[in-house]
């Protein structure tokens, strides 16, 4: 190892939330100030613990009170056409909230796949229904497109939920809600299973690692 270490502040916050609390500028400032103060230390090693947990670790997360009832999601969905039709209806319910959220927030995280939502839903439909003549499946980089499409779909759903009053903002509740309650997650899981069946290097990687988080795989076993 030819480099020497940076000064480091360890934080206890969930992976993906290194500044702790969303929309809490005082808390974020505290984290940054503590980290930058380490620059004054004359000698090392400097690996210090930040003393506070973020708010979601201090209180039990609220259960999402989603106004749309997904409790009818079947345990086993054997008919792919039915799943895709139900997903389409679910997506429409969320899209109206998503467009409101985008307007309210003045920003969106959607866009990494460079596909419109119509194209994205068609991509998944064509992929899962084995429509080999589909233009959407033809070009190179299909595994990447399937992965980035899943990211856009998740962003759409999470942003839609954020526009509804009284919804949770903690990482664990949101992940459990999406992967446990939505048909979008069921569709992504079907995409994952098909990627594994195709048995190419890119599809195998996507199926094993890039579509469903390790922490949520237990739902689909």
């Amino acid at each position: 190892m030819t480099i020497r270490p940076p000064r480091a502040l360890w934080v206890s916050f969930p992976l993906g939330r290194p500044l702790g609390n969303p929309n809490d500028s005082a808390f974020q400032r505290e984290v940054i100030s503590h980290a930058l103060d380490l620059l004054r230390r004359p000698s090392g090693p400097v690996l210090e613990d930040f003393a506070r947990d973020c708010s979601e670790q201090q209180a039990a997360p609220a259960v999402p009170a989603c106004p749309i009832d997904f409790s009818t999601r079947p345990e086993k969905i054997s008919d792919m056409e039915q799943l895709l039709a139900n997903f389409d209806a679910e997506f429409n319910s969320f899209y109206t909230w998503y467009s409101m959220a985008r307007e309210q927030n003045g920003r969106t995280a959607v866009g990494v796949s460079a596909l419109s939502f119509d194209q994205l839903i068609s991509l998944y439909r064509d992929f899962l229904m084995d429509r080999e003549d589909s233009m959407l499946l033809a070009a190179d980089g299909l595994a990447d497109r399937l992965r980035l499409g899943a990211e856009d779909l998740k962003s759409c759903y999470f942003e839609a939920l954020s526009a509804q009053p009284g919804q949770p903002t903690d990482a664990a509740s949101l992940a459990d809600w999406f992967w446990g309650k939505t048909l979008a997650a069921a569709v992504i899981n079907e995409v994952r299973k098909k990627c594994l069946r195709l048995n190419t290097k890119e599809m195998d990687l996507a199926g094993k690692l890039l579509l469903v988080p390790r922490s949520q795989m237990h739902r689909f076993k």
């Binding site: 270490p5 992976l15 939330r17 929309n23 500028s25 890039l210």
Partner: protein, 153 residues
């Protein structure tokens, strides 16, 4: 990162198997005073502007983010699906705290904020990023940056 005891057994076992490098004990740079320092942010969140190219699996490169970037112009194409993205969706400052650093610059708690900031995609083995990191270090020097706030996800 959240405490190991808060992970599932599978996740904990995976993390404990990751290599953990041993460093010398000397700090990377001599001490400096934040109030006089020009600060840049380097994120590993796989962030980039919409017009830029998404990160690919195994990519070691970085993407450029100007200090005055519109929040709506930044998206995240990190290849890992295993970390929370909702924090970023709720508040860009959760992974790229430019607004907080601008406030601190305004209150003279840091010397100045750099003109450009950068994002890598943290799923790539850091050893493969060495060439890109050296290039970036030269660019940071050119921007007269004294210290970098490394923000991993």
């Amino acid at each position: 990162m959240v405490r190991l005891k808060q992970f599932s057994e599978d996740e904990r076992s995976h993390l404990l198997k990751l290599p953990c490098p041993v460093f010398e004990t000397t700090p990377f740079v001599p001490p400096i005073t934040p109030e006089q320092a020009r600060i840049a942010v380097v994120s590993t969140a796989g962030l980039h502007r919409r017009a830029d190219r998404p990160f690919a699996v195994g990519e070691a490169g970085y993407r450029l983010i100007p200090a005055d970037v519109d929040h709506d112009d930044l998206i995240m194409s990190h290849v890992s699906t295993n970390f929370d993205r909702t924090g970023f969706q709720l508040d860009l400052n959760m992974v790229l705290p430019l607004d907080r650093l601008k406030e601190m610059e305004g209150e003279s708690q840091i010397g100045s904020l750099a003109a450009y900031h950068y994002s890598f995609m943290g799923a790539t083995d850091p050893r493969q990023m060495e060439d890109e990191a050296r290039t970036l270090a030269a660019l940071l020097k050119y921007d007269q940056v004294d210290a970098v706030l490394l923000v991993p996800v």
